[in-house]
Each structure stands twice: as C-alpha cells, then as structure tokens.
Amino acid sequence: MVAAANTRLRLEASHLTAMFGQHRAVRDVSLLFPANTVTAIIGPSGCGKSTLLRCLNRMHELTPSASVQGEVLLDDVNIYGDEVSPIELRRRIGMVFQRPTPFPTMSIYDNVAAGLRVNGRRFRAEMDDAVARALQQAALWDEVRDRLHASALALSGGQQQRLCIARAVAPQPEILLLDEPTASLDPAGTQRIEELCHALKRLYTIVIVTHNMQQAARVSDYTAFMYLGSLIEVGRTDEIFTKPKVEQTEAYITGRFG
C-alpha cells in the first residue's frame, strides 16, 4: 500500500527562487525529484544547494529576512499555498542535518519517539513497534536494543547520526532530506549512512546534499549540479559523471574548480 502510494508521489521545484534579504541564494531552479530514487545535489560551497533543500520542507523561511518565490509541488499541491501548514508539511518530510542533533535531554527511545508524539500517537505498544522499526531502518537497532533508555549522548557520532535518521523516519514521512549527513563522520560512519540511502529509497524519496562527489556517485540515481544559485545540469548520475553536457559541470567533477 505504502509503496503504491509512493510511486505516485512527486516532489518538484518549479521556478524556485530563495532569497536572504536582497541576496538570491537560489535562482529560478526547476527540478523534479522522482519517487523512490536518491537525488544528489552537488556544487561548491555557497552554491545554494542547502538553501534549495531547506526550501523543500519550508525550513528556509524560518531564517529572519528569508523569502521564497516560485513553487514547490508535492503531489501537485504547492507547499507554499495558503492552505498548507508548514508544521503539517514538515511531518510528511523528514530531515537530517550536517551534524548529529539528538535531543540531549532525551533517551534514545524518546529521541526516536519525538516525532511520533508530536503527531499525537500515544499507545505504548504501537509506539514501541514504531521506535523499533525506525531503529531497524536506520541500522541502529542491534547496537542500542539493550539500552533504549540510555542518554542519546552516550552514542558515538556515527550512531547519533543514524539515531537522527531513525528519528526522521519514525513518523513514516514520504520524503527524506539529507543535508550533508556525513560531513562530520569518519569513513566507517559515512559508509553506513551511504548503505542506508540505498536501503531506504525503497520506502522514501531521498534528496541528499553533498559536497563529496564520490558520495554523490555512489549513492544517487540522479545528480543535480548547482553553481552560484543556479541549476547548471541535472541528469542520471552515471551520465553526469561520465559524459556531462555542460562545460562547468565537467570542470567541477573533474576537480578543475570548486
């Protein structure tokens, strides 16, 4: 059932411009994120890739002086429409940040349950199942099953990041946004997160921002290259990395700038 619903799901940015005051951080970007795929957004620092990501779940507008023009369509509904509640929207779209952000006062269990509780879920058994399922999806279950009520801060950095992924997927969102999720992790931690991307795309539509081109090549089905706020090129990952159509893309992926 869930899979069937997901195949119809479409996330699409249409002529999207994101501003900080007068500065246009994202310029007229139109981009489709196909269901149950991993789309990587790459580009040099400051190219607007994180800002674009944050427009997809309306986190961008939380920054003072930030504004958005254009549309983001989720199942053909503009998420910037008047009738869409950003709070409800964010419950449908999970997000994981650059640095692990476990809630320090909560146990491992409560961290994963946080997003469920805010959705009004309260039956204990149901909650236990949902937490276990989320931790399994994040490949953390075997490491923490015996200490679910220990502090989340007792985990290593890589474990904390997987905990954040578990927290993001626990409410069963439709889309998962990853903002450089491995930036603060060691190679082993990075590898585990990348493996997760492959496993989780069966269930979710994933958008990952990364400045690591090898990572984009390893995890994604589609790659979008951004530069100075504009979308330069988008295509199947193997094509982007083997025969890019635009000169700038080739220069970037071959390491001649950025």
Partner: protein, 268 residues
C-alpha cells in the same frame, strides 16, 4: 603577573574565610536545640531561640520564589526565543534597570502598593518585594541559558513538525533546564539574605506566626533588630542567626552547584 593574580584571588577568598570564621567563633556557641525550636523570650531574659525567624524566612522566601520564578523564567524564555524585536529590547532594558535598583527602593514600592492600601504590614508584601528583586535576575540568567542551546536543536525539532511553542518548551527549555534551575537557586539565595526590602513590608514579628497577611519575622530582620539592640543576649543571638542565615545561603548555593554538576556529568 601570575603571582599578582594569585595574591588578588587570595584576598578575595580571604574575605569569605574571615567572615565565616568570625561568624563561627561568635555564633556557634549560641546554637543549641532551643535556638532552632523556641521563639524569642522578652527582652532582658536569657534563652529563647529564633524558630519564628527561621520558619518566617522559609515562608517569605518560598512565597517570593513562587511568585518570582514563573514570571522571571517566563520573561527570560520570551527574551531568548522571541525577544529580537523592539518589545524584547524594552523588556531587556527594563530588566537591567530593575537589576540595578537599590533593594530598599523596591521595598518602598511594595510598601506603597501593598502595605499602604491594605493598612497592614504583611509577609506577603515582603514576598512581593523579594519577588520583584528576583524577577530581573532570573529573566536575564534564563535568557543566557536558553541562548546557549544550539540553534541546530531548534531546527531539528522544527523539522520534525514541532510547533514553535512546543519546540521552546519540550526541546529548548528542557535542554537549558539545569542552567535555569541553577539560576533560580542563585537568585533565591541572593534574596534570602535581603533585609532592606523587608523593613517596611514584612516588618518583623517577635512571636511565632504562620499567617502571610500578618507581619512576619525573617532571619535578616532578626539580625538587624538584635544587632542594633542594647542587650548582650541579643548580640549573641544575632551572631548565631547570622551564622544560620549564612549556612542557609551556602546550602542553596551548593545545591545549585550540584545541579550544574549533574548536567555535565551526564553529558560525557
């Protein structure tokens, strides 16, 4: 340079050691069971205790905390979470001015607005004065503590679909909780020793009283009256009361320390 700094900090510590030592020398001998359990006896007689003042301090300060902590912490939360605009600037400015207001002036305010209209000195009026003294302190320390919570935690909660108020309460305030509690305890310890705001509000009472609408004795008022009185017996009790008050404040401060320790202990 290091030597100078060490010498200066030694002088700072010396003041505390001298005060404590003096209090123990002059006060400890007068502290016995009756001191804690009995009320004062009429002037000129020996014996008696300060049970009324100890209980009174508890009531007046406790009531002040009950009034001041919610308002102070609430104002601090507001300043940290929503206080970036003009109103926040004004509130912050007023809190700073209030923080620097002499405590006796705050006593006069409580007298004007509570004692005079009700035609009676009362413990409640004293508590209100102490609460007013406490509020700006708590507001500013709470603001500082809440600001220390990393922005990334707020974002993580908001990205999960938390409404703003729930983010403030469940994530931000809870993360800053030990800091806020420490700030409250320090604030309470600070006002527990105040005398000036109580002089014409709680007034003092030589009898044991539990009624907050009546004048009530506190340790600080007791010390003031006894130390300035003519009797040797009173001076003795004043020293002992000072030692007890100092011990009380020290205990609250130590609790604050302990709370802070808990936080960093669980963090590592």
């Amino acid at each position: 340079m290091t030597g100078l700094v060490v010498a200066l900090s030694f002088i700072a510590v010396l003041a505390l050691v001298l005060i404590l030592g003096d209090l123990v020398l002059k006060g400890a001998s007068s502290i016995d069971w009756a001191f804690f359990t009995r009320s004062p006896v009429p002037a000129g007689q020996t014996g008696g205790g300060v049970a009324n003042a100890i209980v009174g301090t508890g009531i007046v300060v406790g009531l002040a905390a009950l009034i001041g902590v919610p308002i102070g912490v609430g104002a601090g939360m507001y300043l940290a979470e929503y206080g970036s605009g003009k109103l926040g600037f004004i509130v912050r400015f007023i809190a700073d001015v209030l923080n620097g207001t002499p405590s006796i002036v705050i006593g006069i305010v409580a007298w004007t607005f509570i004692v005079r209209p009700t035609h009676r000195f009362s413990a409640l009026a004293g508590s209100v004065a102490l609460a007013i003294l406490m509020i700006p302190m708590l507001a500013r320390t709470t603001e500082e503590m809440v600001r220390l919570v990393p922005h990334s935690l707020r974002e993580a909660a908001l990205a999960l679909g938390y409404p703003r108020w729930r983010t403030s309460l469940k994530v931000v305030a809870r993360t800053a909780l030990t800091g806020i509690v420490t700030g409250c305890l320090v604030g309470i310890a600070r006002v527990a020793g105040e005398t000036a705001p109580l002089l014409f509000t709680a007034l003092g009472n030589l009898n044991f009283s539990l009624s907050v609408t009546q004048p009530m004795q506190t340790l600080s008022l007791q010390i003031y009256v006894y130390a300035t009185g003519p009797f040797e017996e009173w001076h003795r009790l004043a020293w002992a009361s000072a030692l007890v008050l100092m011990g009380l404040v020290l205990m609250i401060s130590l609790t604050a320390r302990w709370v802070t320790r808990q936080r960093y202990g669980s963090g590592s």
